[in-house]
């Protein structure tokens, strides 16, 4: 579905991404992990062409992305990130309806069909009862659901998620990830998620991409990527890795320096 062919990118002098290649298949849930500054967020921004790589190209269903216009991209790829701009807050319904924007073209107002699509997206994410509430009165968990609903209203094939659970407590993290997992399993949506939380990524993603200083260090199923050697070499700190007692996926435990001997 998405084919990334040896892209390199820099903002100014230093290369932030170097010769990165990978594919994302239809219906996959891919996690992008790596330390601060490894290029996770930049990679996602390139995937929806907020940034254009200096070298290499990205094919979306075999079409070079540089040939797609902004609205085309927004009809197929939705993005959910941490959003904090709530200067003049819109209501939940107004926010979700903005997801219809790429389909409106020069039209000024949404049709009844657009409102219907937004309503279904709000029901799917269980935020319909909040639809008249202004965004600044919602909790962090509710807000992230609104942005998922807005992404659904875009009727995309792919959703890119940039640290979507960073400000949520564990209950809301699980709620959120269960929701997007259901989108992936039941609706066949392709997901690419950048995350700092390797245990979450290991538990939920089909495949992981581990970045180190703008290069792909390792890619594969969580069991092959999250190993003691890989993580210690990329993050430069000691970790303990065993298996999640129920799912059997790799699980990381942090340690104090020399903690193993205590």
């Amino acid at each position: 579905m998405i084919e990334v062919n040896s892209i390199s990118f820099r903002y100014h002098e230093d290369w932030v991404l170097r010769d990165v290649s990978f594919r994302v298949e239809k219906g996959e849930f891919v996690g992008v992990i790596g330390p601060n500054g490894s290029g996770k967020t930049t990679l996602l921004k390139i995937l929806y062409r907020l940034l254009a790589p200096q070298h290499g190209e990205i094919l979306f269903e075999l079409v070079p992305m540089k040939k797609m216009d902004r609205a085309d991209i927004a009809k197929r790829i939705a993005v959910v990130a941490q959003e904090t701009h709530l200067l003049f807050p819109f209501t939940v319904l107004e926010t979700v309806l903005m997801g219809r924007s790429p389909y409106l073209g020069n039209l000024m107002f949404e049709s009844e069909k657009d409102v219907e699509i937004a309503r279904k997206a709000m029901e799917w994410t269980s935020i319909f009862p909040l639809s008249e509430r202004p965004m600044d009165e919602l909790s962090g968990g509710e807000r992230q659901r609104v942005f998922i609903a807005r992404a659904l209203a875009q009727e995309p094939e792919v959703i890119l998620l940039d640290e979507p659970t960073a400000n949520l407590d564990i209950h809301h993290q699980i709620d959120f990830l269960d929701l997007i997992l259901a989108l992936n399993r039941e609706r066949g949506l392709t997901l690419v998620m950048a995350s700092h939380d390797m245990n979450m990524a290991s538990e939920f993603c089909d495949r992981l991409i581990l970045l180190q200083k703008g290069r792909i260090y390792k890619t594969g199923p969580p069991g092959e990527v999250i190993t003691k050697e890989n993580i210690e070499s990329v993050y430069g700190c000691e970790v303990w890795i065993d298996q999640h007692p129920i799912s059997g996926m790799p699980r990381i435990s942090l340690m104090k320096k020399g903690g193993i001997k205590r």
Binding site: I73, S101, P102, S131
Partner: protein, 343 residues
């Protein structure tokens, strides 16, 4: 479900237009020469039909050649400043942004001050034309310095605007310090915003800019909603952000240039009207832009009417009235915001 539809925009626009017409009617009947309200209205309507039936020659002149053009001018400026203020607040995502934030007004002021010192003064095209030129040159300078590698960075543009504005203010101070007493009075009144200096023919200069500017911005109003939550957010939803920014900044600047060239620097309108409309109707630009234009027009006509009648025959600068009237009203709106929202 409560959303902004074309029907809602139309209904509210019609209601606010009726209010605007009412304000214009009241405005033309008030003044140092008393013309009874019904007779003024008859004069207006008959002359609209091309008839001369009502009132004396003097009354017709006062209403049709003095008060009506002045009300129209104030209305255009009020609409222009309100829409331009709303646009800058959205583009810069800054609630304190106003039409003058990019220094366009200071450029207009330099043009105006030079015109006054050269004696082009009040009774010609000179004053509005010179200030409009001053504003245009400033727009070019600010956009030249405010763009990097072909892109507008809001902070860079803002800094370029503020710095250019400060430099031009220094020029204004210099001109003021070397001006004579009689010129000084004119300059100060212009800087405070004043329609008594304005020329009815200025309507011809500013009307196309304000009408075209507001209409073109309105066509972008749905996209302005998206940029309110950040430029990256707008890109994610399919907006060509660079095009949107360039067009909107230029249009809002041109509207400001046209507005201030007619009557000087009227403060507060471009700040308070957009915020008031947001508090009442919500932040959606599809409703905000037409409502702000119509309410801004009514507000400035009303303010100007007060400015010329309150201490008649002495006229106050209208800027004094907009701030004195607008400040308390805005505080009141802020306090009752929650109550308004649940309407």
């Amino acid at each position: 479900m409560k959303i902004v539809t074309s029907k809602k925009v139309l209904t509210i626009s019609i209601l606010l237009s009726l209010l605007l017409i009412l304000v214009i009617l009241v405005s033309v009947t008030l003044g140092s020469v008393k013309v009874p309200p019904l007779r003024s209205i008859r004069i207006l309507f008959l002359s609209l039909l091309g008839l001369k039936g009502a009132g004396s020659e003097t009354e017709r002149t006062i209403i049709l050649s003095l008060r009506l053009p002045r009300a129209i001018l104030a209305g255009l400026v009020g609409a222009g400043l309100s829409v331009s203020g709303a646009t800058f607040q959205a583009l810069l995502r800054n609630p304190l942004a106003d039409p003058y934030i990019l220094g366009v007004s200071s450029g207009a002021a330099v043009g105006a001050v030079i015109a006054i010192l050269l004696g082009l003064g009040t009774f010609s095209f000179g004053l509005p034309l010179a200030s409009f030129l001053g504003a245009l040159v400033t727009i070019l300078v600010v956009f030249y310095f405010g763009r990097e590698d072909g892109k507008i960075h809001p902070n860079t543009l803002l800094l370029a605007g503020v710095i250019t504005g400060s430099f031009l203010s220094a020029l204004i101070m210099f001109f003021i310090s070397v001006s004579r007493r009689e010129e000084l009075h004119t300059i100060i009144f212009w800087l405070m915003g004043d329609f008594s200096l304005s020329n009815a023919r200025a309507i011809l200069i500013i009307f196309p800019y304000i009408l075209l500017g507001v209409s073109l911005l309105y066509l972008r109003s749905r996209q302005l909603n998206l940029i309110l939550s950040g430029e990256e957010n707008a890109v994610r939803l399919g907006v060509d952000v660079e095009k949107l920014k360039l067009l909107s900044y230029l249009l809002a600047s041109l509207i400001t240039a046209a507005s201030v060239s007619a009557c000087g620097l009227i403060g507060f309108v471009g700040l308070i009207i957009p915020h008031s409309v947001r508090l009442i109707f919500g932040p959606d630009h599809r409703l905000l832009i037409p409502s702000a234009a119509l309410l801004g027009a009514s507000f400035l006509i009303a303010s100007d009417t007060l400015a010329r009648t309150l201490l008649a025959p002495v006229e106050l600068p209208v800027g004094v009235i907009t701030a004195a009237l607008g400040g308390p009203f805005f505080i009141y709106l802020l306090r009752t915001r929650k109550a308004i929202r649940t309407l």
